[in-house]
């Protein structure tokens, strides 16, 4: 449902970038990745560049396997850490719904929204990786229906818990000695197929009331989603998916490898791929100039409200986005 507002620009900030070999072109050695300084610097760069939203990928399983086994700081903790260090960029961790406790997740995300003064979102994810089930000692949920059921129930519970305190439930009524007005607190009494949750929340209603919920196309019933994330290989396919998605906003997922001072995009990608191949997914991938990306985003602005960029190497592509893409981006039909 695109509007005539400029395209919203989100960026995924996990690790050293979306390419599995990104660490080889990072401006720091691997042993400096998992540090507060690095997390802060990247988010500040994204904020200064003018991005609307930063997302943080996550899983209980390591971010890459085999010889390149890497590490990762938890997404909720990274988002919380940067929340008070930034002032306008929104922060949305990836949080899985498959085995996590919805009650804990709702507390964590509501707390994040307080720390971010109302700038928090949630990228709803599933864990179809059997190693995550094994880490938690749970029978693996692998069928798409089971994954969708867990996602639906978890988001339903989260939304109910965020609403379980009315905004003014802490009345501080000195005359009657009551801190809370129990009429403004609500049990959620959720009963699903695999578990139930009583409520109310232990955290008051977050500043936004409801956090902004982002989810992959088709994962959740549309009424639970604020932003659908569309993974399609062409602008036309993105447009078709966006028209089907009955959610307030639709963002396209776009992978990006840019021409930079370090080399042109094709060369950069082939050097990276020579280390570890980056298989093309079913999503848009722009390999080329900043101007070419601006043109693609301008096309996309006709069919979606925003994009989420997955850049190959944060240290190389983010400065280029900051200097040559974000400032020129992107009103529909411009």
């Amino acid at each position: 449902m695109p509007t005539d507002r400029p395209l919203h620009l989100a960026v995924e900030l996990d690790g050293d970038g979306a390419h599995p070999a990104a660490w080889r072109r990072a401006r720091h050695a691997p042993d400096r990745l998992l540090t507060a300084a690095r997390v802060e610097r990247v988010v500040r760069n994204a904020e200064h560049a003018g991005f609307t939203l930063a997302t943080f990928e996550d899983s209980l399983a390591p971010p890459s396997r085999g010889a390149d086994l890497a590490g990762r700081i938890g997404a909720v903790e990274r988002a919380a850490f940067v929340a008070p260090l930034t002032s306008v960029i929104a922060v949305a961790p990836v949080v899985s719904t498959t085995y996590t406790e919805p009650f804990h997740v709702a507390s964590q995300l509501a707390s994040l929204d307080f720390a971010a003064a109302g700038r928090a979102g949630w990228v709803v994810a599933t864990s179809d990786d059997a190693s995550v089930a094994a880490a938690l000692g749970r029978p693996a949920v692998t069928d798409p229906d089971g994954l969708r059921r867990e996602a639906r129930d978890a988001v339903t519970v989260n939304r109910a818990l965020w609403d379980s305190w009315e905004d003014d439930a802490a009345i501080r009524d000195v005359a009657t000695g009551r801190y809370l007005d129990v009429d403004k607190l609500h049990y959620v009494d959720f009963v699903g197929e695999t578990y139930s949750v009583k409520g109310p929340a232990i955290v008051p209603r977050p500043p936004q009331g409801q956090l902004v919920v982002l989810a992959a196309d088709g994962l959740l019933p549309p009424d639970l989603v604020d932003v659908t994330l569309v993974d399609e290989p062409t602008v036309d396919d993105v447009g078709a998916a966006a028209r089907r998605a009955a959610t307030p906003r639709v963002f396209a997922e776009v992978e990006v490898v840019l021409d930079t001072a370090d080399g042109d995009a094709v060369d950069r990608l082939s050097t990276l791929d020579a280390h570890t191949p980056w298989p093309a997914a079913q999503r848009l991938r722009h390999i080329g100039s900043a101007a070419g990306l601006v043109a693609l985003l301008t096309d996309l602005a006709r069919v979606v409200d925003g994009v989420r960029l997955h850049v190959a190497v944060l240290d190389e592509d983010l400065p280029e986005l900051s200097a040559r893409v974000v400032p020129r981006c992107c009103a529909p039909g411009s």
Binding site: A29, S64, E77, P84, L85, A110, A134, Y195, I202
Partner: protein, 457 residues
């Protein structure tokens, strides 16, 4: 006069202070103009900044996984509604540089692969400032908020906690210190074999996990513990590095507790000084003793209102007394001994009959009303005095090995720590019983703790 060394077993001991930002209890006074928000981030920022200015070792957050209820209704008299501890501490990390960040987290309604990773995340982000207060609340009433419901026998709470901790420690030890490449030219991001997957099969857990984080600067998060039963104390002796105790008001009681913990430590083969004991306490300061006492009386009257006194009495008697007169006598009824649901939180009254008798004795002896009795028997009476007299008192406590310090619960949010930092800390420093600068950068260093239990030669 005997010599100093006879009198003072630990003449060089220094006091450790933590601050417990309370979020659910009747001790935080919410009715006054200076009573700020319990949830706005700025309140937490304000309190932790003050604590760091006062060279506190730790900023501590509690946890309760269900809103408390009394008589089947949500309990409405006290502050409630607080942030998730690890999330909040991660947010406070970048606003501070030294102070420890301690999260109370439950071992019954969590899984080790998830919680150990969240704690690692906080520990790595903060450069080794994380602590974990291990609590075991297991009641089915709390379980109603979780996938498994109430699944654990009360008797097994520490069995699960101990197994949980073993898995967590194995996860924190999974990365070799040189596992991660120090150059982008390296053959791989991590050295093959440098990260060892963790596998556990115990009565409580089946875990196969490849941990995603290296150790922090302090090795492991510092393990705190706050259970008071014999099982809880033994668990602490085997596992804890700090005990957040409820024994810090009275010198003899504190010393007896500390002596008990030291003998339990020796019994499991740990050095007697391997645990720091930091009782929870409130601190009320005045320019004179009588002014401080007057302030304490006013505070207690604000904390133990008539309604609160009736609520406490209802819990202890096991019957609804909320329609009684708080300024009248104690109820004549005998207590109804009831199974504890946990609905009023982690506070427990194991022997109701004995406790009611104690209320009757105190009320009769001092001719007190119900409300006055409740106030007189408050477990959080804390310490009251001038900065100088309390500094003397605390120096005595710590130099005699009764405590290693205190976890201070401010009575007001967010400024309740100000006078403690501005007035008490300098007096302590003057007596040489408090540091004048942080001794390191990690929580483990501030507390003067040894390496984690699994990392010793």
């Amino acid at each position: 006069m005997s010599t100093v060394s006879d009198d003072v077993p630990y003449p060089d001991a220094t006091l450790h202070l933590g601050v417990f930002f309370q979020g659910v209890n009747h001790w935080t006074i919410w009715t006054q103009p200076e009573s700020g928000s319990q949830i706005d981030f700025t309140s937490f920022r304000r309190m932790i900044t003050t604590a760091e200015r006062g060279l506190f070792d730790a900023f501590f957050l509690g946890e309760g996984l269900r809103l408390r209820e009394a008589g089947g209704r949500i309990h409405d008299l006290d502050i409630a509604g607080r942030p998730d501890a690890i999330t909040q501490l991660a947010a406070l990390t970048g606003l501070t540089s030294r102070i420890g960040l301690v999260a109370t987290q439950n071992t019954t309604y969590n899984e080790p692969a998830d919680l150990a990773r969240r704690l690692s995340s906080l520990d790595v982000l903060s450069g080794g400032r994380a602590g974990w207060n291990v609590v075991t609340t297991d009641n089915a009433w709390t379980g109603e908020n979780f996938r498994r419901g109430g699944f654990l026998d009360h008797a097994d709470r520490y069995v699960r906690a101990e197994q949980f901790l073993h898995v967590a420690r194995a996860m924190w030890d999974a990365w070799d210190d040189d596992a991660v490449a120090t150059s982008a030219e390296a053959a791989s991001w991590s050295r093959p074999g440098g990260v060892v997957p963790v596998r556990a099969r115990t009565s409580q857990f089946a875990v196969d996990v490849t941990p995603v984080l290296p150790r922090s600067e302090q090795g492991h998060p510092v393990i705190f513990q706050a259970g008071d039963s014999a099982a809880g104390r033994d668990f602490a002796a085997r596992n804890a590095e700090v005990i957040f105790s409820a024994h810090g008001g009275d010198f003899d009681d504190a010393l007896a507790f500390a002596t008990d913990i030291r003998s339990r430590l020796r019994a499991v083969g740990r050095p007697a000084d391997d645990i720091r004991i930091l009782p929870g306490t409130s601190i009320v300061l005045g320019d004179t003793e009588s002014e401080a006492e007057e302030k304490r009386r006013w505070i207690t009257s604000e904390q133990v209102t008539g309604a609160t006194a009736l609520n406490i009495a209802s819990q202890i008697w096991g019957i609804d007394l909320t329609d009684r007169d708080p300024d009248g006598p104690l109820p004549e009824e005998a207590p109804v001994v009831a199974e504890r649901t946990g609905a009023m939180g982690s506070r427990r009254w194991d022997d109701q009959v004995a406790l009611v008798q104690r209320w009757r004795d105190v009320a009769a002896e001092q001719k007190l009303s119900l409300r006055e009795t409740a106030a007189a028997l408050e477990p959080q009476r804390g310490h009251t005095g001038t900065p100088a007299s309390l500094a003397d008192r605390f120096a005595r406590f710590v130099r005699h090995g009764a405590v290693d310090g205190f976890n201070v619960s401010p009575i007001f949010t967010p400024d309740g720590l100000d006078d403690i930092v501005d007035r008490l800390v300098p007096e302590l420093q003057e007596r040489g019983v408090y540091p004048t600068e942080y001794r390191g950068t990690t929580l483990r260093e501030h507390l003067g703790l040894r390496d984690p239990l699994t990392r010793r030669g």
